[in-house]
Symmetry: C2
Subunit: 462 residues, 2 copies
């Protein structure tokens, strides 16, 4: 029996224990954006350090001004050096009332079609995905005695909240981290439940919070209505102008640096079995929003966006209150492509808002982090090897796809460490990440662990 | 000593006890718009019934499908019959963090200028004002043995939440209530701290809540952003078009029925010592919003408005969440003047929103009540008598003013009972009604009680 075969065997026999380990991790509510959960983030980091040590990694949770960053190394292999990245923090869980069960009390549940799902916040994004890789490493050590590659594992706790402290950490540990030849990232999706994918481009992001300040206190709309500036109306009017009638973003210079995908890439996209009806139908929609002259796949993979992610102002409780509030605020994010500069986009947004504020009102801005888009060199040998390993496991050709989301660290790996990244993940589009009832298919978890075991073997063949 | 002089004397000697009675009333959190406070509204009604009985009124709290309506009568006088109206419900108190003290733990505090204020939710709107009239009745009974007029007191508990059940109550008790010759309402303001006012016109209102439904669940803006309809953006765009560049409301037919005040009324307004700088400066603003070709006084007294009173959608907590929410909602109210029809305005608003919703989204509407504007016949004798009584108490000429707020019952009194209303109140513009740190000047409470004692005497002279 080959080493890989023993490893795959071991994984198949270790599923129950692997699920129990994942459950332990999922039970800790590591919501990074809310300071109330800081101790839970630290506890999560400690749990991971201990687990990696049991496998044989030298592991440490490095304190930052935010949440800890974990660095773990097992360099005993004679093979090539890979740097695995994942994140242990999760999104908030509100609205809690829409969850079928406690988001931090994970369980495996069965659907009518016979598939089984791991349910809980972080099951897919990204704790479940991270554990597919860690379990593959554990299996290599247990079944084969050694890893096929030198492995460095880097796990951050602020991916869902701007990732402010990772770039500085990469700078500080640059010499150590740049010894790797490629990065491995497990935070993306399958193309379909049966077709694995390597994501070869990611949109970047700029995110801003804007608070419009008007009167010095909340006002009665009877006494002041008509004469006093209404910050909700000012905010709505400005945000309502963020797109033109054709769905294009109206910020000055917004499309600077936006490029079209190569003909080759576009051709591959056209060959994919993708329809807007199916993609949007899944979530109760039919008609693509956004730029009217673009295909749905372009809209989510290769076109930049402006989205209002949150808005609040005035009375929002039950009933009615005739108030003109003192302030109103919104959270706005921009998905970026090509060479778009996040800082330039943030600056243009602030100028856009400020140009729409009456003289005695004021706009306050809070930046929530940004990152440029990235595109991978799909012709490099590791991409073909990993693709083959995935195709072997899933018994179908793995595909190269675009990605609409943003994983800022991938750009940082390229710029700071000179590393390209293999973005391989086993999430599915219906995993409800960032939403109530997040889940990860048990099949994703099982074949994900096996896939990583194969990818590590394939990269070692270099 | 005349009967009136004895009554005024009694009021001056009874201040501490009157304040303690008001405090008891203020301590009950009768927030009518929030179902969680329904029992407190009932308790408030019971407290008032008991208090009115101690004065000698036959009083009863009538149950409705909402909060109780109190009807109390003392018809022993040979004088004319008046119907006093007030409301015992109060506005919500959020944001609670901006209150200097518990809104339902009232106290009298002193300002640096030596003035003293009764602080608490409802101190001014409307519990404090209601008690100025009840205390005046108590003093007439105690000091003179009888009221100078036949008095019916009508107190509702849904003024701040649409007043849905009062019109039906007026219909049901029409014969009894229409025996009065005029209505007295204490829910308005002084012209200035030294100048009392009778409000002779009130704006009407139409209020609507709109909920935009898009996807069947919250979405990740990376996966779906650019292709999925964003309900916040749809809402912002629609509400941003509610006014044109000159501040006019863009609803179709909105200005139907809007008339200009008479030249006489406009002339009196011009003689008032009013400046936009002072009015808006009080709340940290300078520049009148709204229609650019109207004076600030017109904007708040004689022009209709559209105001967004609340908006919410997506993630509004600390930090950032890249979500495209399934829904977003807003509460919008319209102040109406002249013959504007609240139902027509609500209908035009719904059509306006529906015309701006993409095909696979849906707008849901909730009506929160409406009322037309009203204008009083200032030439009728009770207006001159009441004006003289106020001028005597405050030792300065009382003025007739317009009112920007809406007191729907005033229109109902006219339409259902054939009664005009004397709108006399002692609130001040800085009372922070509907806002944190609501207060009622002790001077308003003291001279307000004395004013009603005089007004009752003056109306009895008929």
């Amino acid at each position: 029996m080959s080493a890989l075969a023993s490893v795959l065997d071991h994984l198949d026999n270790d599923t129950d224990a692997a699920i129990e380990r994942l459950f332990e991790l999922l039970r800790i509510p590591s919501i990074s954006t809310d300071p109330a959960f800081a101790a839970d983030c630290a506890r999560t980091a400690d749990w991971l350090v201990k687990d990696l040590e049991t496998i044989g990694f030298k592991a440490q949770a490095h304190q930052t001004a935010g949440h800890p960053i974990i660095l773990a190394e097992d360099h005993d292999s004679a093979g090539p050096h890979v740097l695995f990245y994942g994140h242990y923090d999760v999104q908030p869980v509100d609205p809690l009332s829409l969850w079928d069960r406690d988001p931090f009390d994970p369980a495996v549940t069965a659907r009518e079609d016979g598939t089984r799902q791991i349910c809980g916040r972080g099951a897919s994004d990204d704790k479940g995905q991270v554990m597919t890789f860690i379990e593959a490493c554990r299996a290599w050590k247990r079944a084969a005695g050694r890893l096929p590659c030198k492995v460095t594992i880097l796990l951050e706790g602020e991916e869902e909240s701007g990732g402010a402290h990772l770039p500085g950490f990469l700078d500080a540990h640059k010499e150590r981290l740049s010894k790797a030849g490629i990065a491995l990232v497990c935070d993306t999706s399958m193309w379909s439940p049966d077709t694995p994918a390597i994501t070869t481009s990611l949109r970047g992001m700029a995110s801003e919070e804007v608070i419009i300040h008007a009167a010095s206190r909340d006002l009665h709309s009877g006494y002041y209505g008509g004469a006093a500036a209404n910050p909700i109306a000012i905010l709505a009017r400005a945000l309502g102008q963020l797109h033109d009638g054709e769905g294009r973003v109206t910020l000055e210079g917004f499309y600077d640096g936006v490029s079209e995908p190569s003909d080759q890439v576009k051709e591959q996209w056209q060959s994919l079995d993708f329809t807007a009806e199916e993609f949007l139908g899944e979530v109760g929609l039919k008609h693509p929003a956004g730029e009217t002259d673009r295909s749905c796949l372009e809209l989510v993979w290769s076109r930049p966006t402006a989205e209002i992610n949150g808005i609040t102002g005035g009375y929002t409780g039950v009933g009615f209150k005739t108030v003109i509030p003192a302030q109103a605020s919104a959270k706005v994010s921009f998905r970026l492509v090509g060479e778009q500069d996040p800082k330039a986009v943030s600056k243009a947004f602030r100028a856009f808002i400020n140009a729409r504020i009456p003289p005695d009102c004021r706009a306050e801005f809070i930046e929530h982090g940004g990152s440029p888009a990235v595109t991978m060199p799909v012709e490099a040998p590791p991409f073909a090897r990993a693709r083959q390993a995935l195709s072997d496991e899933w018994e179908t050709d793995a595909v190269f796809v675009g990605g609409g989301g943003s994983i800022p660290v991938v750009g940082e790996f390229k710029r700071k460490l000179g590393l390209d990244a293999l973005l391989i993940g086993f999430a599915l589009d219906d995993d409800r990440i960032h939403s109530p009832n997040e889940k990860y298919d048990l099949r994703s978890f099982d074949k994900g662990r096996r896939s990583w075991a194969r990818v590590l073997a394939a990269l070692a063949e270099a």
